[in-house]
Point group: C3
């Protein structure tokens, strides 16, 4: 087994960044035809989620509420000034999983995979692993 990596260059302080195309390309290049993909974020101020990608307003609405939950300033103790990002990361989560059939992701009609930048802009990574199914 070898963990593969996608590089993501984010542009904003907080941002939902569509990586569905990168993941599709990676799966195609790997030749993986059937099973489960795990996309894992090895950072603590970023996350990954699956949500609607058709209307960009959905992304800004998600970010707006996440900022209300964990605002940039909120009497945090962590001295680096990025606690808001750490909190958002644990609320959204570090990994997503989805099935692959005939070499293609089994996603819902409106589903897009978003890298969630909460302390950017930075160059980030998403690790990809291919899991086996029993049947």
């Amino acid at each position: 087994m070898k963990t593969e990596t996608i590089r993501v260059k984010t542009n904003q302080k907080i941002e939902l960044f569509d990586i569905t195309g990168d993941i599709r390309s990676r799966i195609k290049a790997s030749g993986f035809k059937s099973g489960i993909v795990m996309a894992y974020v090895p950072h603590t101020t970023a996350a990954i989620t699956i949500n609607e990608g058709a209307d960009p307003d959905v992304k800004s609405d998600i970010l707006m509420i996440l900022d209300q939950i964990a605002p940039m300033k909120a009497g945090y103790r962590h001295a680096e000034g990025n606690s808001a990002a750490h909190v958002k990361a644990s609320l959204v989560g570090q990994s997503v999983m989805f099935a692959i059939e005939d070499g293609k992701p089994v996603l819902g009609t409106w589903q897009t995979v978003f890298f969630c930048e909460f302390d950017g802009p930075r160059v980030r990574r998403v690790n990809i692993n291919y899991l086996s199914c029993s049947k």
Copy 2:
């Protein structure tokens, strides 16, 4: 590998809907005896979680707080009027995983699997995959 599907007919605008029985039946019908089940929601205004099912008040308390976090109206930009559902979906998550031993889910005593409807009522789907374990 073949992704299986459970259909869920929700009854409310927002609702935690117990699908543990449906999942157990599906696993039994599939003959899957040992490994990991992934239950995946291919929607962007719904989610899936595992929590207490014995007292229905737990469900309403979870929904109450989710509604405080992401109320129906909150100055959202997304024109379809269901941004609250998209936000809740990313907070709760699109998939759960749990082990199967001797054909039975390895869940905690109080654990119930809930489909989380955030923009119903609708007919929804939950995809089921069976993952292999190494040991």
Copy 3:
């Protein structure tokens, strides 16, 4: 397949408890060299997350925001008085997954695995399973 178990003795009402060392020891003892580990919490008032472990202030900042989202008292209906814990559990989630290569967890530089106690102190469990990869 056999689900393994780590015991966690928490000390506080709410607490992020570093279990990275326990998980590393368990993986070493199991002889698992390559694949994916799933760490699963079979409780409904606790959760598991991956976040920064270097500065303990990150833990308290995460707990502070979780308490603002789901305070101990908030007009909950559930009579046991621990609804705040149930809500936090579904926001953070019941499982994490990460890759193992050459017998070692593939975690980011700052990543620590935290058991999240939301209704302690108690003796808790984390179930460990070893998933197979296709390539």
